[in-house]
Amino acid sequence: MRDVAVLGVGMYRFGMYYDVSNATMAREAGMAALRDAGLSFRDVNAAYVGHIFAQVMSGVRVMKEFGLTGIPVQRIENASATGSAAFREACLQVAAGHADVVMVLGFDKMTTMIQQSTQGTAPENMEDAILPAGFFALWATRRMHERGMKAEHLAKIAAKNFNNGALNPMAQRQADTFITPEKVLGARMVAWPLTTMMSCPMGDGAACAIVGRADLAKKLRPDRPVVRVTASDLQSEKYARGHLFMGPVVGPAQMTIDTSKNVYEEAGVGPSDLDLVQVHDAFAIEELEYYELLGLCKVGEAEKCIEQGDFERDGRVAVSTDGGLIARGHPGGPTGLAQIWETTLQLRGEAGKRQVENARIGLCHMMGGGSVCVIHILQRD
């Protein structure tokens, strides 16, 4: 992934917006990213739209908000990893030399989805019995059995992410007091041992990244460091015993291990070189598992590392610095791009109160149901 850089990023704060349309959120996030890049929509050569709960034409139609310039527009969907998958396509487009500047725009409105789902007929699917929270709770129970994990470890992860999110103006959940693990444990139970505060919220939002040739980044904004995309990989799962073919299926362990090996090799860095990491923490147990699968700690040592505070903002490697899916929110399409937004700001040294000191290398990891794993590595020059 040589010579591809993030030229600009923008977000429409994640939240619950019953009166704001997808088009409005997408346009504002997109315009913010263009302004950040120092570009006009006239300069954009191609666009990828990440939108999960989509109707036909919803990609090309939302791009008309910016003007009708004739550029190629495609919608990408890969469940929770939609924004990440769209970002990858944009990077490949630039790396292949087909475009100098590509816009990646993710948006979604889960509030609309909720309204629509209550209008439909009764579900007729065996899979409806297993909610994502239930699926990840099964990971947690098994981990307790195998490794002696306790609900307190998950609560410590969630509390960290809430407290990081409180420093992020784009985060959906803004805690007004310091969140303790005890408070997380005392929240309403969703699927034992996961409480509401160990789970991501429903929400709406948009996020945008402009990617382009790395030499353009320096020309457009000579005042700040260039943030390069040095590795990109997307994998779907390989069959293994224990695979589930029914219900929400997200992330067999080997898929994250394999994808991360590829990006470390492509970027020429290892997990110990990372300054910050964003993971798919839709539920706190996921973040714990990904510490090990991404190689941030040894297998079986996640609990010990959590107790030591290794993944706090000032720890060995900062994880979910913007609050993660748990506090920043997870509307769907834009989530992976919110990770790019956060990592780009951090690598430029523009992350304000949540800035990780001297951040140089960041990793963004998303899982998509079905299932897929998408990982990118971003590096400051």
Binding site: E124, N125, A137, A191, W192, K238, Y239
Partner: protein, 147 residues
């Protein structure tokens, strides 16, 4: 022992049997690969193993007993159910079948009644009524020791 019951209709055909004798457990409807011997649930046309991918597959019945791999209790009503038992929540488990597949389905019972490694048996459970019939799903119930 058979008792008079209302007709039982699966929520979706093709996933499990409905025995004529209500006292008997259902069996899951799966697939066996004729080339490599791997079993799957639910049914599929092509073997999923990357080194096999055989199209020579056939329908088989799986279970009805298995071993609990993991469990949880979901504190939300079961989607699409009008059964009062499901209003306060429901168990969910991953069950390893003796033929090989791991399946993820609802469990009968409460949080404290499940433990990893225990033996469970499939049963039919009424989700709601439809006309004169019961719409049923399949779930697993812990088998009590000695039973």
């Amino acid at each position: 022992m058979t008792t008079a019951t209302r007709p039982r209709v699966p929520i979706k055909p093709g996933y499990f049997t409905i025995p004529d004798d209500p006292g008997l457990p259902p069996k899951l409807l799966g697939t066996k690969c004729q080339d490599c011997g791997e079993h799957y649930f639910p049914r599929r046309a092509i073997c999923a193993r990357p080194e096999c991918l055989s199209e020579k597959t056939s329908d088989v019945e799986l279970g009805p007993r298995g071993t609990l791999y993991s469990y949880t209790f979901v504190h939300l009503p079961l989607f699409g159910s009008s059964n009062l038992e499901h209003a306060e929540g429901y168990g969910v488990g991953q069950v390893d079948l003796p033929e090989g597949p791991r399946v993820q389905l609802p469990l009968a019972g409460k949080q404290g009644e499940f433990r990893i490694g225990q033996t469970l048996e499939a049963e039919l459970n009424t989700l709601r009524e439809d006309g004169g019939s019961d719409i049923v799903i399949v779930r697993f119930r812990p088998v009590e020791a000695g039973r």
